[in-house]
């Protein structure tokens, strides 16, 4: 009975118009994702009304295509010009642009594509298989667990940042402080606004990212303008294609990142950015040659890309099993479902099981199509680096400004962008790694929120509450210092081995 349903579900998808819709969504998503300032959420929200007027098996896979295309699309500018097109591709800027500078832009784009597709496919497949258990695990994860996991993540990231641990901590603290400017996440009490109204909304992630990543590139390029009108990267063109042997060598990294992304996808509120960074840190920590990370190491691109896509599968679980969206993207998908008269949740599985499975399979189908389409388009994208710096730099600037503005229509964001640009430039010149700053900035609000919720839930008696009813959280908290110690020990051993 079940088997018949699965077969029926697969047959439902064997239609040319569905394939075309998914492909269209993928291309659209890729293009929009490649534009900095355009979040995948925005892209999906814009095309959502289109899905209202299509049948469910056409409309929803279309949105799924936009979603998956968007995540990959963000990696394109991240690799080529060090500007993450979406937050999820921030970790890709650690090694991607370095590979481009070595003349390996095409290889970088291709490994990003393959890693993304593999991570996404495996994670979606796994989700379909064990959707029930994942739902149950998701219910066990509440504010105390989230706080513990976030603390652990922050520590892992600081420990694996390049450079000195103390300098990494400094960046982390600065990032955390920046996150506190504006309204506090729980009570919306304004902090550090200096009575300057625009600061009340706080500093947003997008101007921060575009400022920290894109603007310094412009400034670095402009330092030596007259000497470098003819660019070394210009002449190397886009380089060779990815070789099978190289892909196989990244195999373990990709699998590890997929697992990491999958686990993080189950924790509400963590998201693709965190998964990408932790995947990167894990790959660097497990590597025999961690010093190549940051210099254009291919695993350094594969790891974050696989991880950030692997988050997609489990993120769908609360939506499909309970009808509750876990984040903005699933909220839009929920809207699409609901506008079609479908109510996700346990009832939908019973009433319309075939359709639900067909939609789940369409996720897998989207992955396969992404691989095909991406492979065809990467040579086109890779050519971007052949544009001379004299044109690339102004283009980057007008894209950066346009992208930041459309996000919130707030001119303050633009000034912040420039300010962060100068800061990022200075920080890089002074050999600081910006990753901990960004992570501190991203993770502090959810951490503060989860801690506040935990305090309220415990009704004042935090220790008793944790020990009595929250074994998972306690377990993670105990694990954290152990893991830190182990990581620190490994790092010190490696430093002694290398002269």
């Amino acid at each position: 009975m079940m088997f018949d349903m699965l077969i029926d579900a697969m047959l439902m998808l064997m239609r040319l118009d569905i394939l075309l819709m998914i492909s269209g969504g993928l291309v659209l998503g890729m293009l929009v994702g490649a534009l900095p300032g355009f979040t995948t959420v925005m892209a999906m929200a814009i095309v959502l009304p289109i899905s209202f007027f299509l049948e469910p098996i056409l409309g929803i896979p279309f949105l799924i295509g936009v979603y998956k295309g968007g995540i990959f699309g963000g990696s394109i500018p991240a690799i080529l010009v060090n500007i993450p097109g979406t937050g999820a591709s921030m970790a890709t800027t650690l090694d991607g642009p370095a590979m481009t500078r070595k003349g390996q832009s095409r290889k970088a784009l291709e490994i990003a594509l393959v890693a993304s597709v593999v991570g996404d496919f495996l994670s979606s497949f796994g989700t379909i298989l064990i959707i029930g258990p994942i739902a149950m695990i998701a219910l066990l994860i509440g504010p105390p667990e989230i706080s513990a996991i976030l603390l652990l993540s922050l520590m892992i990231i600081v420990m694996s940042s390049s450079g000195n641990f103390l300098k990494g901590m400094v960046m982390l603290l600065i990032g955390m402080f920046l996150a506190t400017v504006g309204q506090d996440p729980v009570g919306a009490m304004v902090r550090f606004d200096f009575n300057f109204y625009p600061l009340q909304a706080g500093i947003d992630l997008l101007p921060l990212i575009i400022g920290l990543f894109a603007i310094p590139e412009i400034l670095f390029a402009i330092e030596q303008r007259r000497e470098a009108v003819v660019d070394p990267a210009h002449t190397k063109a886009q380089g060779e294609r990815l070789r099978w042997s190289e892909l196989m060598a990244c195999g373990r990294t990709i699998l590890r990142s997929t697992a990491i992304g999958g686990v993080i996808g189950m924790v509400p509120g963590m998201g693709q950015v965190v998964a990408a960074f932790i995947g990167y840190s894990a790959a660097k920590g497990a590597s025999k040659h961690p010093e190549t990370f940051g210099q254009g190491e291919i695993e350094g691109v594969a790891a974050p890309e696989a991880a950030n896509n692997a988050v997609n599968g489990p993120t769908m679980v609360p939506l499909l099993t309970l009808g509750i969206p876990g984040d903005n993207i699933t909220a839009i998908l929920l809207g699409a479902f609901v506008a079609q008269g479908l109510r996700p949740g346990p009832q939908l599985f019973q009433d319309q099981g075939t359709l639900v499975y067909a939609l789940l399979f369409s996720m897998l189908l989207a992955c396969v199509l992404l691989l095909v389409i991406g492979y065809l388009l990467t040579p086109v994208f890779a050519r971007v680096v052949t544009i001379s710096k004299a044109y690339l730099v102004p283009l980057m600037l007008i894209f950066a400004v346009g992208g930041t503005y459309v996000y919130r229509s707030n001119p303050m964001d633009l000034y912040f962008m420039i300010g962060f640009g100068l800061f990022g430039y200075g920080a890089r010149k002074l050999h600081f790694d910006l990753t901990p700053l960004v992570m501190g900035f991203i993770l502090t609000p959810p951490l503060e929120y989860a801690l506040a919720q935990s305090m309220l839930l415990s009704r004042g008696d935090l220790l008793g509450y944790l020990v009595g009813t929250r074994p998972i959280a306690v377990g993670i908290l105990v694990l954290t210092p152990v893991l830190i110690f182990w990581l620190g020990y490994r790092q010190r051993k490696q430093r002694r081995v290398r002269p």
Binding site: I46, V170, V393, Y405, M455
Partner: protein, 170 residues
């Protein structure tokens, strides 16, 4: 006596940009700590119980303490650091270039709303292309004129998001 003086002298000799940054961090931490009472308000109380679990002052205060502690440790560590600041070796012309681009960026952002995205982007893109050394008219035309147009049309017409319009015609 001379040993102490020698040690003090070598400490001074080892001060580098890292030490300066470390001190700045410590100062920043102190400043944040001092600002907290003035810049953080207290949340309302429901049914006699705090509505927020942890005070909004908590995180900033902890961050401030962290900065002071880490900054101090960093300062001590900086004495044995041998990194060379990237700013050394920047020629004067580099600073000039940076300055020009910075002013251009600020002007761009400041004039964005009054003059509209299209006009400002065209101006900035053309100027920077030219300043960067290109004299290829086709290249400058594409970058400076066509690109802003394409971006503006794409964003406002097809992606239905808003960029500041040209002030005429409203």
């Amino acid at each position: 006596m001379t040993n102490d003086m020698a040690r003090a002298g070598s400490v001074l000799a080892r001060l580098n940009f890292n030490s300066a940054v470390a001190l700045a961090v410590v100062v920043l931490g102190i400043v944040i700590w001092l600002l907290v009472p003035y810049q953080v308000a207290e949340p309302p109380v429901f049914f006699g119980r705090s509505s927020v679990g942890i005070s909004p002052k908590l995180f900033p205060q902890m961050i401030a303490i962290g900065m002071v502690v880490i900054g101090a440790l960093y300062f001590i560590a900086s004495l044995s650091m041998r990194q060379i600041s990237g700013f050394r070796g920047l020629s004067a012309s580099a600073y000039v270039n940076l300055g020009v681009v910075l002013i251009a960026m600020l002007a761009y952002v400041a004039l964005l709303r009054p003059l509209g995205y299209l006009a400002t982007s065209m101006g900035v893109a053309t100027a920077i292309s030219f300043y960067y050394g290109s004299r290829n008219l086709v290249g400058i035309g594409l970058t400076g004129i066509a690109a802003p147009l394409v971006i503006y049309t794409l964003f406002t017409r097809y992606l239905s998001v808003s960029l500041p319009p040209f002030p005429w015609g409203s």
